[in-house]
Amino acid sequence: MPHLTHAAIDAAALAHRVQSPARGAAVSFLGLVRDHHGGRTVERLDYSAYEPMAETECARIVSEAESRWPVAIALEHRLGRLTIGDVAVAVVAAAPHRAVAFEACRFVIDEVKARVPIWKREHYSDGTVGWVDPTAAGGVVADRPDPP
């Protein structure tokens, strides 16, 4: 299954892919579009990706988790235009016991944020836009035109 999708994420369907009678614990993480960032009101945002690399990296993260723990992982990241409250990313970790399910779910979302080439452009209520940049002061970079 591809890990990137341009459609709405169905978290329940994702969970059903990995839940099984032998796995009594399922831990899910949903990342939702928030209405604020750095004190500004967000109206919507656009996710884009270097898609082939992002797919490869997502698959690698899932493999790493599944070889490290006795766990089955489902992972989807949405791309395109999202509005407030939409699910941007979903991870489900299903395992025989809860400690492993929690640990593996946390690992996957942390690695997705650290390694997968996906970018986010925020549209603010004042009509401006900014590129989310966790390394920048304020977390956002908004380019102004070059001086003439």
Partner: protein, 87 residues
């Protein structure tokens, strides 16, 4: 190939803010090869708008993150990656 400084076209992909400031999603640069990733980045930064790129951005060759001193080979797909913001 006609000599040690033969030049070749390198395909460079740009994403997100980097594509915005360069005004392009992909570039084809004529460069003497082999060149390092750092030299490819320097060539991109010399283009109009390129000064807005950092001198040491994240880079990938053929879908894998690579260090600045990695050599770029003919046919490689180079990508310059702004700070990741997934999740």
């Amino acid at each position: 190939m006609t000599g040690p400084a033969a030049s070749a076209a390198v395909r460079v992909l740009l994403f997100a803010r980097y594509a915005d400031v360069l005004g392009a999603d992909a570039l084809s640069l004529e460069l003497p090869l082999p060149a390092t990733l750092e030299q490819v980045v320097a060539a991109v930064r010399a283009l109009p708008g390129g000064h807005r790129l950092p001198p040491h951005p994240l880079c990938a060759i053929n879908l894998e993150q690579r260090a600045a001193d990695t050599l770029v080979q003919p046919g490689d797909e180079v990508a310059l990656l702004p700070p990741l913001a997934g999740g």
